[in-house]
Point group: C2
DNA sequence: GCTAAATTTGAACGAACGTTCGATTCTGAA
DNA sequence: TTCAGAATCGAACGTTCGTTCAAATTTAGC
């Protein structure tokens, strides 16, 4: 899953690795997502990540170059998954309305199933810099491009207006982590339909 | 402006204060908003705030109990202004459509005129705790209540659905700080009308 | 100009941070 | 069983952080 990363880390495929290697790496990333989602990137400590990942503090640095690379791996993997699964879903959708539903469903479902990673992606968008930021930005922009195209097929307006419509949709979808409650909002299909209704027909009375 | 704060600070109105006092306090808050908006609350350093506020590091603690109180003052003041100005605008609006425009206009205009404070409010919503968090939450919830009532007058649906429609609107409006560019988006009335159109009529073609 | 209070300062504290590194333990192939 | 290398660990380094406090400076009223 993390193998497809652009070669920012030393690739070094010559060395032999233990079978546990990938599992351990994923476990650390899971712990990092949890801690960063809760405390923010600056507020999160590598020591806390290590404790949750059942590894020593310095053990983290055997798998990752530094704290930045933890955030990078989380974000790059999440956005890649998001854009990949969206493209798959869009192929199976025919009408523009179905495509919009695919966009909303894909985004919201990813959120429900990967809350920590989602929060880290939305809330720590500006926490990276340099190559890390640039690479994540590229995937993020590709994701936006796909969504904007879908919105464009529905929206009657200029490109400027289509952009704003797509950005409005993103805003609504990314804001969910501020109010969504697993206990209170158990019927996610209902929420998805509601999002679709609001953006398809607006909130005005019939 | 900060005088109306709930008495978390020692009120101490007995002591005499210099005329510069309020100006100095506002200057520090402005600097804090700038730094926190850029670096995040955890990433922002009191030293940086002090430097930008043209005051010594320890001077900050003459005006504020600690770093938390800086964030508290910014957020409480911003939300109070937001809810107060919204109520004024709603009085002058007659139709539900005009009220929705007032909501969007009020929110977006505040953002354009107070970007740093806006970002600090949206991005650092969970950075406070205890009494600070509780007091800000109260004003924030009152603001939401007013907006939800406006949306409810337009939206044909259950309370659950009205909530989600209002939360969608909030999401779109709060997301603007991620894409708004003062140079590129100079016509803010156009943006406001676009927001209104999307939420009033949806994004579907006529 | 004197004085007491308001304001500002500089230096210092302990704590927590990210990162490094040599030593140690574990593991899989011979 | 042996052993090279992968994986983990413990301790420490230097830096930056929020906060404190006594001393110095500035201010307003007499």
């Amino acid at each position: 899953m993390v193998a497809g990363l652009p070669k920012i880390k030393a690739s070094a495929p010559t060395t032999r690795r233990h079978p546990k290697y990938e599992k351990r790496m994923a476990s650390i990333l899971k712990a990092a997502s949890r801690v960063i989602a809760r405390d923010g990137f600056e507020g999160a400590s590598v020591r806390d990540v290590a404790a949750r990942g059942k590894i020593g503090l310095s053990g983290i640095y055997y798998y990752f170059k530094g704290k930045d690379e933890l955030l990078y791996a989380i974000q790059y993997h999440a956005f890649s998954t998001l854009v990949s699964s969206l493209k798959d879903r869009l192929k199976e959708a025919s009408s523009p309305e179905e495509k919009l539903r695919a966009v909303i469903d894909n985004h919201f479902t990813f959120f429900v199933n990967n809350m920590d990673e989602f929060i880290v992606c939305v809330h720590e968008m500006e926490s990276l810099s340099g190559k890390y930021y640039k690479n994540v930005l590229a995937v993020r922009q590709e994701y936006f491009r796909v969504v904007r195209r879908t919105v464009g097929e529905l929206f009657q307006g200029s490109q400027y207006e289509t952009d704003l419509a797509a950005l409005s949709l993103f805003g609504s979808l990314n804001w969910v982590y501020m109010w969504y409650d697993r206990e209170k909002n158990r019927d996610i299909d209902k929420i998805i339909s509601q999002f679709l209704r609001v953006f398809l027909n607006g909130i005005a009375k019939a």
